[in-house]
């Protein structure tokens, strides 16, 4: 079973994303900020990461840059999932190594389409 780490400081978003991704056949782990997420990844790299941008302690972009510098950190497919919806943010995310990008609000169809887009 493929694993997906859901990183978002909102418990509600994590819960919604978990439900959608479990229906798509993923095993889910959750983290509330980038630091927690990094700890998860160091313990066991997930296949995919659904990543919020604005979070306390460590935001999504900083996490992504650190992740990609880790041994094995280029492996997980990273999909941003954020309210930031302007071209500048999207380009910054892609430059930092994101594979796809979801603009909130999202629904199950969007998550499914984006995960299919990156081959998951």
């Amino acid at each position: 079973m493929k694993t997906c780490l859901v990183v978002d400081d909102s418990r509600v978003i994590r819960k919604v994303a978990r439900r959608i991704l479990e229906d798509l056949g993923f095993e889910i782990a959750e983290a509330a900020d980038g630091m927690e997420a990094l700890a998860w990844c160091r313990a066991a790299m997930p296949d995919a990461i659904l990543l919020d941008w604005n979070m306390p302690v460590m935001g999504g972009l900083e996490f992504l840059r650190k992740l990609r510098a880790e041994p094995g950190g280029d492996a997980p497919v990273v999909i941003f999932c954020t309210v930031e919806n302007d071209v500048a943010h999207i380009e910054e995310a892609l430059d930092a190594g994101a594979d796809e990008y979801i603009m909130k609000p999202f629904d199950g169809d969007i998550i499914e389409a984006k995960f299919a887009e990156v081959g998951l």
Binding site: V87, I90, I102, M103, D109, I110, A113, A116, E117
Partner: protein
Amino acid sequence: MRPDDISLVISLCRARAGLKVSAEKTYLIESRLAPVARRENFASIPDLLAAIRAKREEPLIWGVVEAMTQGESAFFRDRAPFETFRNEVYPALSRARGGEPVKVWSAACAGGQEVYSLAMLAEMMRAEDPSVRIELAASDISARALEKAQSGVYSQFEVQRGLPIRLLIKHFEKTDDMWRLSPDIRRMVRWRRLNLIAGLGAVGRWDVVFCRNVLSGLEAPYQKKVLEDLTLVLPEDGVLVLGAKETAEAAGDAFTPIPGQPGFYRRNPAARAAAAA
């Protein structure tokens, strides 16, 4: 809704567009017609239908029919047909045409996502091989759908259905809460208002016809008619593309599935010879 109102909607849709509307789907009829009633300044759907019954005004009738034809649409819907077009269908046809453009028609284009997906795909193909030549056209029965499609403006929700993020930022510009497709891509498509059941004599020849998730919405006799008319549009080596859950069975053996390319059909020359004989 009253049964006679539902019957009126069903008979208008069948007569004008060959459209199959199920009497059980009252919620669908109501959700499609409520905006029409509002737009035309009627207090309710029954008021709108009463006016149609009384005056039989064409613009009102078409407002109803067009609203009922609206379908789901997404960029690169089902993905696989676009890969098949790029890797199998285009190269073969391009060779056969000796460098002349391969002509592709998106029939019943709705919001334009399919034809614009093909346009973006053509652009990607041309980046790899500058000799790629693809001519694109799109048609729909609905003037409103065509207007939206031509504008190339989509909501944030729409651009997240099937469109890879890199194509979004490459080809779209954000204006307020909407995303507008670049003029370069929009200019690649020619548009035409067309009712598929009214005959395809004036359409000309097209090498590839994308007609996905259209036939399944039509009454059986119209499915047959449209398929038979399409045999006159496609050259012998032309290709018809149907939706993932559709078949060409309504027209007997006029079309045969292309092995290994789900949804892709070729004309059956023997069938036309038989029909002509």
